[in-house]
């Protein structure tokens, strides 16, 4: 009876709220404490009053816990940063070694105490190094999942479900229209096109961290063993993935040699999407512009972006993954952030989960 349970829970909370206000008994009955004392949203990001730290803050803070290396979550300028070693490495690659005053590597699955709050990092399946952060105090556990996905990804550890009282979920693709197809079919689509248009080059737009390496790795898994050309912005990250055991096969920079006439006909070139509308793209013969993103599910998005071959490939959960994850974790409460919160909250209402939007600002819900 999840529905009844949630109604009951809400009423109980409301009653304790009143009790708390009237008798100022906050903290005395620890079991019944509201989760907001453990984590709550502030303009700088998710903040823990109990532990005095932020998760993925959007402004420079004293102490930050970082879920993964995408630039809207991992910003430079915090004094102390705690994240997985891979996320710390990625931040150093992007911002330089002085990106934070102090860093601390979080080991997956190992508890660290911070002002009486127990902290645990668990794989999130989003990109290399990505983690969910579980915070726990007085029997109350909240999991901030950051960005995550459930679909298989050969370039990072898979999402690990963690039982919790409050689950904080992203909502980037939280509409029933978003259902990501099998990544193998999408790669087959790309390879078929390469075969059909041997005189053209295929430019695959993919975000530099995570998506680009996943596309390359998936092409290798599909049996494509020719050299893949990459934009300069990808080089450092691809090298880093290699050191972490993600084999990407033969890569070469998509640059022009001074003396020899370059010929990119028939090749696959991977680069950040923004580069393809730039003058950089002119070196390629009659390119087929492809974009690897969950947004490509919507035809109009592809059309507006001038994308000729959409590749529906996402590092975020689709609708089914989101709802299945909530069903599987069965948390007391669901907090929904960055994306289409209203649809997921509606689904939670219909299915008996207490849910509310967090209204965190500063995360690009467009990035995928």
């Amino acid at each position: 009876m999840p529905y009844l349970r949630s109604v009951f829970w809400q009423q109980l909370c409301a009653w304790f709220d009143k009790l708390n206000q009237r008798y100022a008994i906050e903290g005395r009955i620890s079991l019944l404490k509201r989760p907001e004392t453990l984590l709550r949203s502030t303009p700088a990001g998710l903040y823990s009053p109990a532990g005095d730290f932020y998760i993925d803050p959007v402004r420079p803070v004293e102490r930050a816990l970082i879920t993964h290396g995408h630039s809207d979550h991992a910003r430079s300028g915090h004094r102390k940063v705690m994240a997985t070693q891979q996320t710390l490495d990625i931040m150093a690659l992007r911002y330089g070694p002085g990106f934070a005053g102090e860093t601390q590597a979080a080991e997956l699955g190992k508890t660290t105490g911070l002002n009486g709050v127990a902290i645990n990092f668990h794989p999130a399946g989003h990109v290399l190094g990505s983690a969910q952060i579980a915070v726990e105090k007085d029997g109350m556990r909240i999991v901030a999942s950051g960005d995550y996905k459930r679909a298989s990804d050969p370039t990072c550890l898979g999402f690990e479900p963690i039982a919790c009282d409050v689950f904080i979920t992203e909502a980037t693709f939280a509409l029933p229209v978003f259902r990501h197809p099998d990544s193998r079919d999408e790669m087959a689509k790309l390879l078929k096109s390469v075969e059909q248009f041997p005189e053209r080059s295929h430019l695959v737009g993919a975000y530099a961290l995570g998506k680009a390496q996943r596309v390359i790795r998936l092409l290798r898994d599909a049996g494509y063993d020719r050299t893949i050309y990459i934009h300069g912005a990808l080089a450092k990250l691809c090298d880093y993935y290699e050191t972490q055991g993600v084999k990407l096969g033969p890569l070469a920079p998509a640059t022009l040699e001074k003396d020899s006439a370059p010929d990119f006909a028939g090749t696959i070139v991977v680069g950040p999407p923004s580069a393809f509308q730039d003058r950089w793209a002119r070196r390629f013969p009659d390119p087929v512009s492809c974009f690897a993103s969950g947004w490509m599910r919507i035809r109009q998005r592809a059309r507006q972006g001038g994308v000729e071959l959409p590749i529906i490939l996402s590092d975020h959960c689709d609708w089914d993954e989101l709802t299945q994850t909530i069903t599987e974790l069965d948390p007391e409460q669901v907090w929904v952030t960055h994306g289409r919160e209203e649809a997921l909250v509606r689904w939670c209402d219909l299915n008996g989960y207490a849910a509310r939007p967090l209204h965190l600002v500063g995360y690009e819900d467009e990035g995928d």
Partner: protein, 541 residues
């Protein structure tokens, strides 16, 4: 069904013509009968199946999902068929069951009533994947908009079978979906099908532009001269009671011009220019191309339009006289036969395009400069000995168009191009000055995306990037001030009044003829110049 869906998905997003041709030809090669023929018919609009109304689809989805969640989804996607195709979910076992082919779907729908069709669609939606669901819904709602004309589809068939497209055009109207004999012939596994229908299309003879080196060839005893009328080229054919009006690419446009078809009481095939009349101050007069557009691209035509914009045909040539195919006779003889043939025709619907007498080439130069009617585009020069052959051979027929109109306008917006040009700002909106002389402002008058060289495109692109004042998605507005900006010399073929444009005028076939880096924007033309051109055009009428 899934291959067809994949084809549609790619066609919609492929901007280049060659890309579309490759996709279509590959599909025809890889897909068995009857699916490939049915796909072809779906694309050319020749498929006749039960229609499902959007309201019925809404009812279907309402039975399956929360209304609010559907509303959020539809709001985001904006297209009903696409939304339903994406949100539809079925249990896995259903989907792994047999997947219907395009042939299964079309065969069932041909026999179905509308209400049966809805139930079938529901069953198929459970069996298909998202992309195929979308194709199915577009098919049954009749809203297949994929940017492929019938002409392009025929071109793809020609590429697939390595035959000339005129051969396909000639056969086309005798064939019906799924076109098995056609595919068999294109694959060289059967003889060319005979054109069975009465009144088939006969591929049209076209002309090449007359250029300087060929001026000396034009002599009165060799070439006859005619005006080139600015309507649409048509072929009228009437055989054994079957009457058809074809466009020059072989599309059957009879339904749009019943006022012509009704008077096609002859037996034979005529070539001419379709024009419309409109009521002038005192009597009916020939309408401009804008008037003709009132009658084009319509499924049906209203009685009011038949009265306000009646159509007629100015005759150029006779291809079949009674049962006698005279295409192999020289033009001069065909013309004589045409003049005799025209006598039996209804004079308000058919008249002869007059021949122009001249002695020397210099006379033509003068005539070209001062045509007697604004709807004349220039001159046609036809060799007296020319037989009527399909295509565009160089020599027998020349067209010599009037010089284009020219104005100087100011670049105001630029939009990123597609395909090869997606990294360039290659579509340019230009404006002219209006308002008081002391306080002029710019009003856009048109858009052009060709006419410049690749080198000029680079310069234009750099100018746009360095002078951007605002961005709206793929569009940038560009600095355009009296003393700072870029003047474009724009050439165009004609001018119409337009209620859709703020300036009140619309150009035909505008292109950029020169970049005037030397000219300050304030010296560009004013709207009054265009308005005067419009008045001049009407004064001749």
């Amino acid at each position: 069904m899934e291959e067809f869906a994949a084809l549609l998905d790619r066609l919609v997003l492929t901007p280049s013509r060659n890309g579309k041709l490759t996709l279509l030809a590959d599909y025809f090669r890889d897909t068995p009968d009857p699916d490939r023929g049915l796909a072809l018919a779906a694309i050319t609009g020749d498929l006749n199946i039960a229609n499902v109304k959007p309201a019925m689809l809404r009812t279907l989805i309402a039975e399956r999902m929360d209304e609010q969640l559907f509303a959020y989804s539809y709001d985001y996607v904006g297209d009903l068929a696409e939304t339903i195709s994406l949100v539809w979910s079925a249990d896995e076992p259903l989907r792994s069951n047999s997947v219907p082919t395009l042939g299964d779907v079309v065969t069932a729908l041909e026999r179905a009533s509308r209400s049966d069709a809805v139930r079938m669609v529901e069953k198929w939606l459970d069996q298909l994947d998202a992309s195929a669901r979308y194709a199915l819904l577009k098919l049954v709602t009749g809203g297949m908009r994929i940017g492929v004309s019938a002409r392009l589809a025929k071109q793809a068939l020609a590429q697939f079978g390595q035959v000339d497209v005129t051969e396909i055009e000639e056969l086309w109207h005798g064939l019906t979906p799924p076109y098995q004999p056609l595919f068999a012939w294109l694959e060289k596994s059967a003889e060319k099908p005979e054109s069975l229908s009465a009144a088939p299309f006969r591929p049209v003879m076209l002309s090449t532009p007359l250029e300087e080196p060929d001026y000396s060839r034009i002599k009165a005893e060799e070439y006859v001269a005619e005006w080139k009328w600015d309507g649409i080229r048509v072929q009228l054919t009437s055989e054994r009671g079957q009457r058809r009006i074809y466009s020059r690419t072989g599309d059957d446009i009879s339904h749009a011009f019943p006022d012509i078809a009704d008077y096609m009481t002859f037996e034979g095939t005529l070539d001419g220019e379709l024009l419309v009349a409109r009521s002038g101050d005192k009597e009916m007069e020939i309408g401009a191309f804008g008037d003709l557009q009132q009658r084009l691209n319509r499924k049906t035509v209203s009685a009011r339009q038949l009265e306000s914009h009646p159509a007629f045909v100015r005759l150029y040539d006779l291809l079949v006289d009674g049962g006698d195919d005279i295409r192999t006779l020289p033009f001069a003889q065909r013309r004589t036969r045409l003049e005799a043939f025209a006598k039996q025709l209804e004079p308000t619907r058919f008249d002869l395009s007059p021949l122009i007498t001249y002695d020397h080439f210099d006379d033509l130069v003068e005539l070209r400069k001062t045509p007697p009617h604004p709807i004349i585009e220039g001159l046609m020069l036809k060799q007296r000995s020319s037989t009527y052959v399909p295509g565009r051979p160089k020599g027998p027929w020349f067209k010599w168009k009037r010089d284009p109109f020219i104005i100087d306008a100011v670049l105001v917006y630029a939009q990123r191009g597609h395909g090869k040009r997606s990294s360039y700002y290659s579509d340019y909106t230009f404006a002219v000055w209006t308002g008081p002389e002391t306080e002029p402002h710019l009003v856009p008058v048109g858009k052009a995306y060709f006419g410049f060289t690749d080198e000029e495109l680079k310069q234009l692109d750099a100018f746009v990037r360095n002078n951007t004042t605002e961005r709206f998605g793929p569009v940038r507005s560009v600095r355009a001030e009296p003393q700072h900006g870029l003047v474009l010399e724009v050439a165009f073929e004609g001018l119409n009044r337009s209620k859709r444009h703020k300036s009140g005028v619309a150009m035909r076939f505008p292109r950029i003829s020169r970049l005037r880096w030397d000219k300050p924007p304030i010296e560009a033309d004013r709207l009054e110049t265009l308005e005067a051109m419009l008045r001049d055009a009407q004064a001749i009428e």
